[in-house]
Symmetry: C2
């Protein structure tokens, strides 16, 4: 009962691996833009971003012919690997189908026959989630003429995900419009284990599809942490099933909500791309979002006469703000709340914020004075210390490790030493001595033995005209540190996109490829990535690659992306 | 053979104007965001942008019920008016269908019965195109209780288009989720007759759909000129049928081309929105795009020894650049070329550029010296003058009026006095005396009797963090002029979006609503639009309006747009 498949060749080819991909002519051809840098150099086609640690390039191209080429793996039963292979295959086919039919079958090039993907450790591969300090090492070998079989090896599935991303970027269309991959040998691993992108979904709600697309873009750049600043003063889009009032009163509208189903989908989508999802519930400041449903969580602020509760003071404090650190209710509420968070999210870490705890409201409140007397506190920072310790203990009880912004350390608060500290202040206003640059803050905080993540030089919400990616590219998180043992305490960094002026209309275009500059700084060897001119043309190529994959990454140079541009209809040919 | 239409009421209503609009529940409800300014004021719902000259507001709402309400006009045979009414009807229905069914029919409000649109001059209405100094005056009267019939009157179809836009912005959904329009009396006309947006399709190609969407956004803001900087050094996307080599060699690719059919579609689309399309073919500089196909048009540049033709000099000149002003070939070519342009475009004006004619290449060329001797010229500006005069004569022969950037005037070149001059330099470096601010340039050029268009303070490609729309809003093109007769020479201004870092990924979000600030400055009375705080909340409302109409205008404030956000799927409810 079988019919010959359409397009069956006669006589039968020696080796014919059949597939069912459709033969369409598609303008999204993976053509290289022909721009050159000031030295007249163009990025070589198939240049990966971020740059691998060790990359032995060759100009020897193998033809990739889907009738011949196949990938095997010892880990095909790991769904993450299977999905990764499937994404690679989609990429491969979308490039291939863009090539004129007659160019596909008349090549004089040697065809690459196969790549075998070997992963050493695959136990639990269907249940594990990416976590802190995962091994992302991998090797790719597409040997020069000695074999028509390539090989990828990784210690873990996370390394394998990175390898497949690199492989997808090595594939290109040459000037004869053949789909090729050059003979290549890559040994690669990340310089930093924490490579994050922070999004803020409180100032503006970010529709789920935008977050998913952003996870795609992150995976194209080997980012591995999505730091989700999910709620703040402005709105509370996180659905709590225990406290549904939080979104009922705190979300912008009933549609401006991430349901727990949405969040699970986002976490799984991220997991398939080797990306951790770390939520931030900022306390004790930035909690007006909690306060809309539970005003009793906030400290009552007083007017100048000290006898008028719930009195705002311009540029000082609101009517009520900052979690009330004095009452058990605050900690009891948060214990219940964070237990729900713990059950939903899969990462070992939660981000507790702790930034910008301004003391004006506490100072205005007579109960805080009494509380200080009762505890023999002389400084408001001791109240903050009290809150911080109780809160961190509470979180630890639940089974979360925690991350905080640098502020408690700046205020002299002592933290549990497994707390990760994010350095975000470009300049810290020191109360007594000179102001600290962020580099001095890194030095100071690392000097106290904390592990640090740097975001201070990567606030990508601050836009400016022109090639500002160069500024982000130049920033090195460990530059201020002499000592290897200090450097080891810098886990990495993250690109932050605060949401005051960003929503679904402009997030992706504004973030990419600017965040790609951060990605390469966090992944690659700084000694091999210190030349802006050669990076520029690789980055331009990478932005076109993202464009073709559905990310509206904005241009960094005059020019064009092969035969495809964003918003150009395929049927406009 | 007729069946009762579904949803037929019993007993029969007194007046039942049936329609076939679909009853869908749609989340794009036209809800007002509840933000308030620092004085606690929110923009009143249904606030138009730009602000009308005379607007007698009331809080008396009429219900708009599509079963009752209809619009009539004496100009229904004018296709531009019919299309305008159809767009209004789409807008009306898209808001209406978002309202809960049971809210539609249980209102205690009086229904507005009709609006009659009266246009005094409708002869040639199906053949005319908008042009310089069109009459855009209109009146809207939705009387307070005295009648259930409203009235719009305009002198011309262009005024009618503006009136319908205003009317569409007066409609809103009130807190009872009824579709209403307040009793209102508006008398309105533009302060300036030239209100432009400039796009650059050479540094990056802008897909046709992006240009059409931008024309929509322009019409929502009552802009009336699309200044199309269509070609430049980087690429030549304009299809010439006489010189097809121009795109074959000058376009980024065969897909990066505006065919003449595309251009006609764009011109017609603009015409239906009362928008002129003025192309710019920048000469004699910025002509590498011409030079790719016709290198003989350019002046050969020489090396330092003066004997090496086609020698580039870093930061001075290319191997060849600037149209060769000495040869008849240049003018003959341009005459043929601009005749084709004249036949395609419909506006009386063409923009000839004339900016940034750097003399270094001319200075390096011995033929230019000889040319100067032959003409007894002592200054290179006389060569520019020679070019300018011959070129403007050539263009005048063809039947085009012309616009130029301010540079020839700055260089002491005398122009025909019906030339419009665009002041674009924020600061003009005066060769002998103090530098001129753009305001001084306006004064100087107006003082020489030229008509002026100001873009110097509205280079929207220069982005910066935060609410930079306020800066654009504060800029007034005539601020430097004391005298009414001088002020009368300022025809208006335009928002420029140069394309170095802009393409289909980010153009619309980057331009809107920042260009809306320019729109209000060019349309409205400055005495009524000098308060940033009250403008802010009207502008926020307007950006949400644009969002709902399909323009990804970026946010200017924290918050949200009712129940709809960009990239939020309707089926995510």
């Amino acid at each position: 009962g079988e019919a010959a498949p359409p397009g069956s060749p006669w006589p039968l080819p020696q080796v014919w691996t059949k597939s069912t991909y459709p033969y369409l002519l598609d303008p999204k051809v993976f053509f290289i833009t022909k721009l050159t840098n000031s030295k007249g150099e163009a990025a070589p086609p198939g240049s990966p971003w971020p740059l691998p640690q060790v990359w032995t390039k060759s100009t020897y191209p193998y033809l990739l012919d889907p009738k011949v080429f196949f990938i095997t793996s010892n880990a095909e039963n790991c769904t993450i690997v299977a999905e990764g292979l499937s994404r690679l295959s989609d990429e491969f086919n979308s490039i291939f189908k863009a090539i004129d039919d007659n160019k596909r079958h008349n090549s004089s090039l040697l065809s690459l026959r196969s790549i075998h993907l070997q992963i050493d450790s695959i136990s639990d591969c269907n249940t594990i989630y990416p976590q802190n300090n995962d091994n992302e090492y991998y090797e790719i070998a597409i040997p020069f003429q000695s074999s028509i079989n390539g090989r990828i090896r990784a210690d873990t599935i996370w390394g394998a995900i990175r390898a497949l991303e690199t492989l997808s970027q090595l594939i290109y269309v040459n000037e004869d419009r053949e789909l090729v991959v050059n003979a290549t040998r890559i040994t690669d691993w990340p310089r930093f284990s924490f490579r994050g992108v922070m999004l803020d979904s409180s100032r503006h709600f970010l529709p789920k599809n935008v977050i998913l697309a952003n996870l795609d873009a992150m995976s194209y750049n080997k980012f591995n942490v999505f730091h989700w600043h999910i709620v703040d003063d402005q709105s509370f889009p996180f659905e709590s099933k225990i406290f549904p009032e939080l979104t009922q009163k705190g979300a912008y509208s009933s549609r401006h909500v991430y349901t727990q189903t949405d969040i699970q989908e986002i976490i799984e989508y991220a997991r398939y791309r080797g990306i951790r999802v770390i939520p931030e519930f900022d306390t004790p400041g930035h909690t007006q979002g909690f306060g809309k449903a539970f005003p009793q969580l906030l400290t009552t602020c007083y007017g100048d006469g000290d006898d008028k509760p719930f009195t705002a003071k311009l540029n000082k404090h609101a009517e009520a703000e900052i979690l009330n650190p004095m009452q058990n209710y605050t900690y009891d509420f948060m214990k219940v709340f964070f237990r729900e968070v713990r059950d939903l999210f899969r990462d070992q870490y939660v981000h507790l914020g702790m930034d910008e705890v301004y003391y004006d409201c506490w100072r205005s409140n007579p109960q805080v004075w009494q509380f200080m007397i009762n505890h023999t506190f002389t400084e408001l920072s001791q109240v903050e210390q009290y809150y911080t310790e109780r809160m961190i203990d509470t979180i630890k009880d639940i089974g979360f490790k925690n991350i905080v912004w640098q502020d408690p350390i700046d205020n002299g608060v002592q933290l549990a030493n497994d707390t990760l500290v994010m350095v975000w202040k470009e300049r810290y206003r020191h109360p007594t001595s000179q102001n600290d640059s962020w580099k001095a803050s890194v030095q100071r905080i690392v000097g106290q033995g904390y592990k640090v993540i740097v975001s201070a030089c990567w606030y990508l919400n601050y836009i400016s005209y022109g090639q500002d990616w160069e500024k982000y590219y130049r920033c090195d998180p460990t530059k201020s540190l002499a000592d290897d043992s200090e450097k080891a305490l810098v886990l990495g960094g993250e690109a932050c996109m605060w949401g005051e002026y960003v929503d679904g209309t402009n997030l992706l275009a504004r973030l990419w490829p600017r965040a790609s500059a951060v990605a390469e700084r966090l992944w690659s060897d700084p000694n091999h990535t210190n030349d802006i001119e050669s990076a520029k043309f690789r980055l331009d190529q990478h932005r076109c690659r993202m464009l073709r994959r559905g990310i509206p990454a904005q241009p960094i140079l005059n020019g064009f992306c092969g035969e495809y541009e964003w918003e150009m209809n395929a049927n406009e040919i």
